[in-house]
């Protein structure tokens, strides 16, 4: 990494043609991944990357370049080239860098680079065995284990000098089960911002069994019904609906571009009274947590919606200046190769008071959507689609047959007003979110919730 003096030189070099804001983002990353498929450890891969992203802004324009090096001479040379994008008189700005402070502090116990490859291999073999031992109907197990250790340094012309260190470990299990001509799949993952103590908290075998159970349960699935029905959405990954259908519209770049249904709605009632939604990048060890965001702003807990009223957007430096709103620590980027943009961290609907089984029992005919394969949304309209990967019919308050091939389609703002009940079983689920070609780690979350009406798309009657 580089020291404050070098950082200052580069930041000043960038401003040399009259730019208003300069920034450097240095990243050093070591990663490993291991993949099991078809009863074999199929490949093992490691990577080492180091580089620096340089950002320069003038009025509303951002200029960005990166290099695969952190050598002072190369940084200065790149800064000199980048600044030619601006043709202004140079007002000498004195930069005073101060160590940034964050409340987020965690302790890593088992650093991935100290774990021998054989131990990692054993984790995947355990996953494979546990899943296959569960039932003869399990015919394929694919599992991958990845870890990474990453050091970052962010400095900008406004005085930020922030250092962060991340450790992340991720296990994903895909199961295929078959019975006769029916083929079903199940997926579960376990991921946290920690080392291999992750597997002291939860056994890899348990992840395998959960994934296997989904595939096995779905073997008896009937075709999903079609039409408008009340839907109970399960805890944890069910939060992906809020993430997609509302979260993206609350990212401030969408507001600036006039591409969000939530523009000019702060202080307005946008959801049922019982809905409180939060983006919290300070949850210790969570997959979407950090000490500093990709611009060196400390992580924060932000209330997005409070008792149905829109309170806050999620902002980065650029949108915070443009909208004249305080920073929220949501300026994130995939790597030194990318411009930071407003992104979610751990985003969830907060817990309510009702018991999940009571929520289900309140429905005469509907759907229980327990797990999803993901979804997509058009933030400008709020229209969304979600694929249900594990779902059941609810009949007279009781869970019935599993359903296959079901999709939920609707409109985010409309659904927010149709949330009729919120459970007390808040849970989170890790994943990756893609936006503008950048993939970052996120968590979604929610308790069990009941939505009075959503269009269910299947092939059944």
């Amino acid at each position: 990494m580089i020291d404050k003096e070098t950082a200052k030189k580069v930041l000043n070099q960038l401003l040399g043609s009259g730019g208003q804001f300069s920034e450097l983002f240095i990243q050093k990353k070591v990663s490993n991944s291991l993949r099991l498929d078809d009863n074999k450890i199929e490949n093992a891969s490691s990577g080492f990357e180091i580089g620096c992203g340089l950002r320069l802004t003038y009025e509303d324009s951002t200029y960005y370049a990166y290099i695969d090096s952190i050598e002072e001479s190369k940084l200065l040379e790149s800064a000199k080239i980048l600044r030619t994008a601006i043709n202004n008189s140079n007002i000498n700005k004195s930069i005073d860098l101060n160590d940034s402070y964050s409340n987020y502090n965690i302790k890593i116990l088992k650093y991935p680079d100290l774990i021998i490859p054989e131990t990692k291999k054993q984790i995947l073999l355990k996953v494979n065995k546990a899943a296959r031992d569960k039932s003869d109907n399990i015919f394929q197990v694919t599992a991958s284990l990845s870890d990474m250790q990453e050091e970052v340094l962010i400095a900008n012309s406004e005085g930020v000098f922030a250092k962060d260190f991340y450790v992340k470990t991720f296990l994903a299990v895909n199961i295929i089960a078959a019975k006769g001509s029916e083929v079903r799949t199940g997926y579960k993952s376990l991921a946290k911002s920690m080392g291999f103590e992750l597997f002291d908290e939860k056994k890899p075998e348990d992840v395998a069994l959960e994934a296997a159970e989904i595939a096995l349960n779905m073997l008896d699935a009937i075709n999903a019904p079609i039409g408008i029905l009340p839907v109970v959405i399960g805890p944890g990954f069910g939060g992906v609906i809020f993430h997609e259908a509302c979260g993206h519209g609350l990212e401030a770049d969408a507001i600036i571009k006039n591409a969000s249904v939530f523009k000019d709605k702060t202080g307005c009632k946008i959801a049922s009274d019982i809905v409180t939604a939060i983006d919290d990048s300070t949850l210790p060890y969570h997959w979407g947590s950090y000490k500093f965001d990709g611009e060196g702003s400390p992580s924060q807990r932000n209330i997005l919606i409070e008792n149905g009223i829109l309170r806050n957007y999620m902002l980065d430096i650029k949108s915070s200046k443009k909208l004249n709103l305080p920073l929220t620590g949501n300026g994130r980027r995939q790597s030194f190769r990318d411009i930071p943009i407003p992104r979610m961290s751990n985003t969830f609907i907060d817990k309510g008071s009702e018991k999940p089984d009571i929520i289900i029992s309140s429905i005469k005919k509907g759907i229980y959507a327990k797990e999803f394969s993901g979804g997509q949304v058009d933030p400008a309209t709020g229209d969304f689609v979600f694929g249900i990967s594990e779902g059941y019919i609810i009949e007279n308050g009781i869970l019935g047959n599993p359903i296959k091939g079901a999709t939920l389609i609707g409109n985010g703002p409309e659904i927010l007003n149709k949330i009729e009940a919120i459970g007390n079983d808040l849970d989170y689920s890790p994943g990756f979110c893609g936006k503008n070609g950048q993939s970052i780690t996120n968590e979604v979350g929610q308790p069990t919730i009941k939505v009075s009406a959503i269009t269910v798309g299947g092939t059944g009657a």
């Binding site: 074999k40 450890i41 199929e42 490949n43 093992a44 891969s45 490691s46 990577g47 080492f48 990357e49 180091i50 509303d60 324009s61 951002t62 200029y63 960005y64 370049a65 990166y66 695969d68 080239i81 980048l82 994008a85 490859p117 054989e118 291999k121 394929q140 694919t142 295929i176 083929v183 079903r184 799949t185 999903a224 079609i226 039409g227 408008i228 006039n258 411009i339 999803f372 394969s373 993901g374 979804g375 997509q376 949304v377 058009d378 309209t381 229209d383 969304f384 689609v385 979600f386 694929g387 990967s389 091939g405 079901a406 999709t407 389609i409 269009t455 269910v456 798309g457 299947g458 092939t459």
Partner: protein
């Protein structure tokens, strides 16, 4: 900030590969492969007449694959000092200790190539004129597009996204079996997503364009496409659930075809993850459909002389008259099925091990029916203009497909009124059987490969609405 004049003469990657191979020779592995990719990228985003962001990058990485005692290991690095490369080699060797040994592991041999003649494709995928357009001109081009599209109609309220990007890249492969190859590639891409509004409704419409050099980009065309799409959908209504014929726009059909493509790789078949397992020789489509994976198509954006492990690319017919003829192979899967590699080894970047994937994969258009001819044949049906949620709504392993759709209702052969918030659901094999008519308007969708289809008339699909 005109980098290209400066960066056009790249460091010689072949020379770098040679240096790495000298270090490899000391590493006591049985076989090795060095994959180097260099890439120069420019990206310009325009918003309300100004440059929203402009980024430039110049990057390079080395991926090293080793085989030792029939086990394989992989590692990559983006620093090229000797000690960093040696670390990278050591990690690859270390990784090889924990993977399974298999007799069929190893680098490709010439005798395993299905296409023995190396295609002369370099001149089509690299355009010298790419370097004639400087950055100012590219910015001007992008700003112009914003003006053109906003002038198309009063109801166009704004541009959600207007993005110009281009790329000059070079791939070099050197392996211990004596293969040494290198190719260069230029491309530029425009993406436009606009928002239209009237008193009651908001709709969006996107379009994109790609060329080998920026001078060829037709701004009028992309503006017209996005505007037409967005306006066509303005004022859309929800409809009652029903069964009906659908007419898939060629770009939507391409996305459906992408789901089918993903389970035609020998890898997915051999691992039991494909509905096409054991179906060679079977008639999958009701009509006489021909599907190709053509890795050496002149106008194809996935064209290259050799694949990600150095095997010659060629033109593979996967379906002939609706009958499944072959899967797509890399060297490993070909050995497993005792056949030859079709040159379908792919990798996302130097960071990844090669796997099996498509190149330019397309459904051959008919010469008989235009879009309008097909439209006229449909008494009542749904013209699907755009789909959302394909990744979450389609499961290639089980075959289930259920996606959100927007489009226009068809009545007596004419477009009647716009429709939103419906899903269309089917499964892959029924979908193949239900294709009734194939259009002549082949269009390609850039995805994990380059996937193309004409518009398709599909019979009797379940539509879920209110």
């Amino acid at each position: 900030m005109d980098y290209f004049s400066k960066k056009k003469n790249k460091n010689n990657d072949i020379e770098l590969a040679g240096k790495v191979s000298m270090l490899m020779d000391k590493s006591k592995v049985d076989e090795y492969e060095i994959y180097i990719s260099s890439s120069t990228d420019n990206e310009i985003e325009i918003f309300e007449g100004e440059v929203e962001s402009l980024s430039y990058s110049d990057s390079k990485g080395i991926g090293i694959r080793v085989f030792k005692e029939k086990r394989t290991g992989y590692s990559y690095v983006t620093s090229f000092e000797e000690n960093k490369i040696i670390d990278c080699i050591e990690k690859a060797v270390l990784n090889s200790k924990i993977t399974n040994a298999e007799e069929i592991n190893g680098l490709p041999l010439r005798s395993e190539y299905r296409y023995t003649k190396e295609a002369d494709i370099q001149k089509y995928i690299f355009d010298e004129d790419f370097f004639k357009v400087n950055l100012e001109k590219k910015i001007e081009l992008a700003k112009n597009l914003e003006k053109i599209v906003k002038g198309k109609d009063k109801r166009i309220s704004g541009v959600d996204s207007l993005n110009y990007s281009d790329n000059y890249s070079e791939v070099t492969i050197l392996n211990s079996n004596g293969f040494e190859g290198n190719y260069k590639n230029t491309s530029c891409f425009l993406f436009l997503n606009i928002i239209s509004k009237d008193k009651k409704d908001t709709s969006t419409g996107f379009s994109f364009l790609y060329e080998r050099n920026p001078q060829k980009l037709n701004l009028e065309k992309i503006a017209q496409d996005a505007a037409a799409k967005s306006l066509m959908l303005l004022g859309a209504k929800k409809i009652k659930s029903t069964h009906s014929d659908i007419l898939l726009d060629s770009l939507v059909a391409s996305q459906f075809l992408g789901i089918i493509a993903s389970i035609l790789t020998a890898d997915s078949v051999q691992k039991g993850k494909s509905l096409f397992k054991g179906k060679i020789g079977e008639k999958i489509f009701s009509r006489n459909i021909n599907i190709f994976d053509n890795g050496i198509m002149k106008e194809g954006f996935s064209s290259k002389p050799f694949d990600a492990e150095g095997v010659n690319k060629g033109n593979t017919q996967i379906f002939k008259d609706g009958i499944l003829k072959t899967y797509l192979y890399d060297c490993y899967t070909a050995r497993k099925d005792k056949t030859l590699s079709t040159g379908n080894a792919v990798r996302a970047s130097y960071k990844s091990n090669p796997g099996v994937g498509i190149s330019n994969f397309y459904l051959e258009p008919s010469s008989d029916y235009s879009f309008d001819d097909i439209l006229k044949k449909i008494d009542s049906g749904f013209y699907v203009v755009d789909i959302i949620g394909l990744h979450s709504g389609a499961n290639p392993i089980t075959g289930d497909i259920s996606v959100g759709a927007k489009g226009v209702w068809i009545k007596n052969g004419n477009l009647d009124f716009p429709v939103k918030e419906v899903t269309i659901a089917t499964d892959i094999l029924s979908f193949c059987k239900k294709i009734e008519t194939i259009g002549n308007d082949l269009k390609f969708f850039p995805s994990a490969g380059f996937i193309g289809s004409p518009c398709l008339h599909v019979k009797d699909i379940v539509i879920s609405g209110i």
